[in-house]
Point group: C2
């Protein structure tokens, strides 16, 4: 372990030539200002949202390892067609990792900074795949006694996204919700929140195995899009729950349109009179992921009261403001070992994160597969 | 002309057997209550929004005429696949016609009602393809001296839809807008509004002829989706105008997605730094028509800050409330002979509206073709 004056940091670079290069560089740790602390990062998850920056549009079936054991390098080819979308990041060596947790090893001179010395804190703010991070006190969340960095590392992205879904549901006047790719880590959290808060949740999964995972944790409505009765199963669940808002991680293909059409049928089952424009109940699908990169296809049978749109955590938090953000963060910290517990397939060091077998595993974005990086793993 | 105690009314009926029947029935004119008046309807346009109710999902290539000259009947077949969407209106004989204008021929006892005697008024409220309509005073808009019923008949649907677009643009924080099927009657009104109000408007048309129509009335940005350079032409117009909201009457196919993708490219041409989620500028397409009934297809290259949704006049008016509705209505009345002037291809009586040649013409929904019904035409 280093003395903290410098530390390894993972970098992702896409060259104008069309090559992705992932490597480790040794960077100096900035001295903390009065209101800052230096955190030795001990845990940072690889979320789907990190993979966008880490591997970009590269075709990971072309990945090759080079370099040394201490300084490994992964390279891969970015398909020509995808290069235009990479335009704004070309030839910039970018640090990666949205969230993480670790121990405060040095502080600035303010009382608030000094109070954190030796404490385990969770962080948000990028570049978490680094051995050391100098952070503002306000961007550190002290974890309760007895909570490890690994337990606190995934405190922000998934928990606040899941809470953001139920918050959005309430703010936009819906009383139940639909979630796709529902057996994911995030999907399981959402089930726990909805069970605790009494919110009817329709889970859409893509296999019998995924349905079993959710049934085991108490999910009441689980529909499997891989069976022939999917359309009817979904409609029935929508009639029972009255869900008129969905959060969709899939994005491409017909799923978003199927959800809207089933919502419309479910609403019209109880409609009293003919409306030439379809039901007047607003039906909304928010797309927050892109597990399927094909075009979104919407066959129109859902009237005129509908919306499909992108949903991201950061703009949502900007909209609700500091007081509500504080309320949501506090709930996460209180329930880190229950509602918001994350499960990892594997814990790796920074150099192990560049091992070709590990890259192949996390680049698949498979449901249930989740890596945790410990940058200070010896 | 009848004495007003009864009058002809156009009716549309879709039978459970899958047959559309359009006919004329003689209905009694309700006596006006204190706050009501009887209007002899002299002009009512056939808008695209009326055709949805008038012909529903019927296949008008199967249309047949029967009945007598005084009591003509049109029948046509509704394709089996479309019958589910007609469920809520089956076997109900429905009156048609959203808006119209005419002369007050009888009034209730209130002062407000009596003040309208003999006046030419515009109306909104359905069943306008009738010789007489008994209306509440508040649903009648007196027209200025010298304005005919024909000039005032299209006072509501198109003018308020066009004004609703610029109002929505402002309320949602955009500074310029895009409109498709832009050479329509509505599209021409929108150009006049935008020129008067200094709003940059990008017009998307489907032919050179349509582009010429708009150029002649002073449109600055007109792009033709039928030429190979469409994508670049649209992007350039979006760079120049900064438009980030579109109103689309087409609905099906790739146009909405093309607009979002061109907006994203236009925004990124001036972007300063890489954002892994695409630009953070919200891009919105509102679909208010269905000239193309294929599925909406959205190839995703427009980041996460986007929305596509339905837009309808009535919910928009409910949202803005009576004071703003009054302001918009007053503007329409003031500018009926200029900004909001409508042009008609043909003026027909109720029985002529059931002439097969006329039905074939208005059922085509062709840009530039617009019929006006005068139910009291002799």
């Amino acid at each position: 372990m280093s003395d903290g004056k410098t530390g390894l940091q993972l970098r992702s670079l896409i060259k104008a030539s069309g090559e992705l290069e992932i490597s480790l560089v040794d960077v100096p740790t900035p001295e903390p200002a009065d209101d800052e602390v230096v955190v030795r990062v001990e845990a940072a998850p690889i979320n789907p949202s990190d993979l966008g920056l880490l591997i970009g549009a590269a075709d990971m079936s072309t990945a090759k390892a080079s370099g040394t054991k201490q300084a490994p390098v992964i390279t891969a080819t970015v398909p020509q067609a995808a290069m235009r979308a990479m335009g704004a990041r070309l030839d910039q060596s970018l640090p990666v990792g949205n969230e993480g947790a670790g121990v405060v090893v040095k502080t600035g001179s303010s009382d608030a900074a000094k109070a954190l010395m030796g404490k385990t804190v969770a962080m948000i703010g990028g570049a978490m795949y680094s051995q050391y991070r100098t952070m503002k006190v306000r961007d550190c969340q002290p974890l309760p006694e007895g909570t490890t960095a690994a337990e606190g590392a995934s405190w922000f992205v998934n928990p606040l996204t899941a809470l953001g879904m139920t918050e959005t549901m309430r703010r936009e006047g819906h009383k139940a919700l639909v979630h796709t790719a529902a057996a994911s880590n995030l999907g399981q959290m959402l089930n726990k929140i909805c069970i605790a808060d009494g919110i009817p949740l329709v889970n859409i999964v893509r296999s019998k195995q995924q349905a079993e995972i959710l049934k085991k944790i108490g999910a009441k409505y689980v529909v499997d899009s891989s069976v022939p009765s999917f359309f009817d199963d979904l409609t029935n669940a929508l009639v029972e729950t009255g869900a008129t808002i969905a959060f969709d991680a899939i994005g491409g293909g017909k799923l978003a349109g199927d959800i809207l059409n089933c919502m419309e049928i479910a609403i019209n089952k109880t409609a009293k009179e003919y409306s030439r424009y379809g039901s007047s109940v607003h039906k909304q699908v928010y797309i927050y992921g892109a597990l399927d990169v094909r075009p979104i296809e919407l066959p129109r049978g859902f009237g005129m009261a509908w919306g499909v749109g992108g949903w991201l955590l950061t703009p949502f938090l900007q909209k609700i403001g500091p007081a509500d953000i504080g309320r949501l963060r506090q709930r996460v910290v209180n329930e880190l070992k229950t509602t918001f517990a994350s499960h990892y397939t594997k814990v790796v060091s920074l150099s192990e994160a560049l091992d070709p077998a590990n890259v192949a595993a996390y680049a698949k974005r498979a449901t249930g597969e989740k890596f945790l990086i410990n940058p200070n793993k010896s």
